[in-house]
Symmetry: C2
Subunit: 452 residues, 2 copies
Amino acid sequence: MAEKQNAWDRIVNQIRSALERQKYKEAVNTFLEPLLGDQVEVFNLLEDEEQALLLEHLNVGATADLFDRLEDSETLEAAESLSIERLADVLEEMQPDEAADLLGDLPPEQASQALEEMEDIEDVLPLLKFPDETAGGRMTTAYIAVRRHTTAEMTIEFLRQVQPDDEVPYYIFVIDPRGRLVGVIGLRELVVAKPEALIEQIMDTDVIHINAQEDQEIVAQVMVRHDLSALPVVDDENRLVGVITHDDILDVLAEEATEDVYRLASVGDAELEPESPVKEHLKARLPWLYLNTLTALMAAWVISNFEDIIAQVAVLAVFQSVVAGLGGNASSQTIALFIRSIALGKLPSKGVLGILGREVMVGLIQGIAVGMIVGLGVYLWRGNIYLALVLGAAIVGNLTIASLVGTLVPLVLRSLKQDPALASPVLVTAATDSLGFLIFLSLATYFLSKLK
Amino acid sequence: MAEKQNAWDRIVNQIRSALERQKYKEAVNTFLEPLLGDQVEVFNLLEDEEQALLLEHLNVGATADLFDRLEDSETLEAAESLSIERLADVLEEMQPDEAADLLGDLPPEQASQALEEMEDIEDVLPLLKFPDETAGGRMTTAYIAVRRHTTAEMTIEFLRQVQPDDEVPYYIFVIDPRGRLVGVIGLRELVVAKPEALIEQIMDTDVIHINAQEDQEIVAQVMVRHDLSALPVVDDENRLVGVITHDDILDVLAEEATEDVYRLASVGDAELEPESPVKEHLKARLPWLYLNTLTALMAAWVISNFEDIIAQVAVLAVFQSVVAGLGGNASSQTIALFIRSIALGKLPSKGVLGILGREVMVGLIQGIAVGMIVGLGVYLWRGNIYLALVLGAAIVGNLTIASLVGTLVPLVLRSLKQDPALASPVLVTAATDSLGFLIFLSLATYFLSKLK
């Protein structure tokens, strides 16, 4: 990849130099040389003003291709620098699903002006009514549909005439007079069929499909489960309204994965990147730190109840954080397992008690394994067997609690139809911290005379 | 999805009851009713002994289809219950890439016996030499290749004769006499081309391809960047050796995402699931807890140097954990951002200083925002302005350090060509914990007289 990176950097430098010398044509030609996927990388490496300058001189088709492939937030930024007329032209050339996303992201006034300027809005209009993260929001209206009494030969001739572009899926859908989905046929089956065969003879009537209102995470699960490269989308009357293609699903999977990672790390916006403006960092991260502040002060309040004990045996302050820290780490493990398992649609809804039991067993064994080691270490270090025992026992207790809480919170959230990934470690460690301190300091209070 | 789950449960119960009544044919027929993707879900819901019993009576083709779609570890488990003869038959029917994976996972003796029994190993043999997680390990050898002087019509006729199955990609590759990749043509272009057109006239010579030794994460990045549904794999002499298809890439993306989530949460095995045996949980999780034990004791050692201070002002023990906890949370945020950005191939290799600067700025601002609130809260609670100031200042310092260390560790790992995801929060929080305690307790020592 280092090679690639160097190639991109070289192209960026050439474009930059051409723009500086006001040789716009040269800049555009240099930009268009590499493949579209690489153009996207190069575009992202340019500064904002350079991007705007380049777009001013790029033709409509190339701009549309680029916009189709940029991240939504980057498309929005780039689009805002265009005039309304030009924006309308570009929107017409874009893939309908991407155009609809962009129209949805634009400020309402700019979007409605652009829509007014556009000549052909038939493809985009039906997509505007679905939220971005549903099947309807992800689908494209660029698909091929035929009727069941067509022959294979006629269908191929039809394809020759419409010359569908690269983004149209490799499937031909079959609809009845009311537009309801009744079958599907792969381009390959079409090609290898006898020319005079009727579509209804060669079509597959067992079409896996999805309702337009379904969440994109479910879309991804269905496509992965059935290894689909295209999934037809229907409305409540089973009428075909669009198709989700494999490239959309790649985006969905990447987004959902980032969301899981970020949730686990208390970052609230799946589109945040290291290069995002400081303001966006604060918006996505600071609220979680404030929540953490609250839970940390709660745990501090637990400790404050033992202040006089700590004043008598200051060594407790040395080791209380070991108990809490291990509990936090152990509960993160549990949460990660459940978040992924639920996200991939793998966690059975039955047998939950068995899974909970197993996880608590793991917590208990890990607690004993770690508690013994820490106890031994602390005995060797401080020479007080009671301190070692209290610490070891607190670790066993807290790691067991960590497994229990780390399992219960995502499961309960799921059964309440909430996103289990909301089970942020911040909330679960609130429990493990507070309870960890409580167990350790309570035990210490009980054995106080032996610890002094 | 609840609907689906119910349907699966109903089928599982029917199969279970048929197996109990030793009506094996009925069990098999019930199992084969739903679509393949659903069969996989149903199979996973059966107990181990039920799975073995069902497989005994399932025909070879259906078993092969099932094995193609199960997770690798589940395929292995199911395969081990088969006789060598039956296993060989199933392996021949499986997709070459999945068969090669299974052969690589089986115990060496069983694998070589099965290979001996197999009649046709031409497709599988070349795949055995590549590690699972490389392009070569992921590719299939089931693809269609033609020579440049063939016509469109001849190619379609060729397709009619070989009747490629569903797993063959929707692309036809063009090779020269030495087997080197020279072009590609989509099935759609083939269909819409004039029948007498030569392949070399309609093929695309700009073929995006990848070396068989490349890591699967790079494969995923290239396919996502260029929106590919199939990626040809070549050897060092540029000879076409296989193709990676869209369903493989979905698996790669899901695996890599799970790996990121697990790394962040200190779970060492991306295949671990809540239902995995306790032994596997311990193998994947306990080593990380031991590492955490070490870092926690290190932080405890830092505190132990301030024992006499804490004995004088026990309230310090109440608030030290607030400083450390916030630092740990903030550094997780930073690590998550960089792990994802690097995994998606988005982090530029240039301008690293700028990114570091921005992240430290975010840390500083978050430190001030949180430090002020905590300081205020603690002043209201305990009425000691010095305690509030010391605590607030320590938080500002520790959150800035969290951003700095959380950025540096993944970046340094990347520049050392190590996996940046090794920058486990365990290691980074070792720094934020120790330094957090150090800053807070040092400041407290300095202002000791004001805190008593």
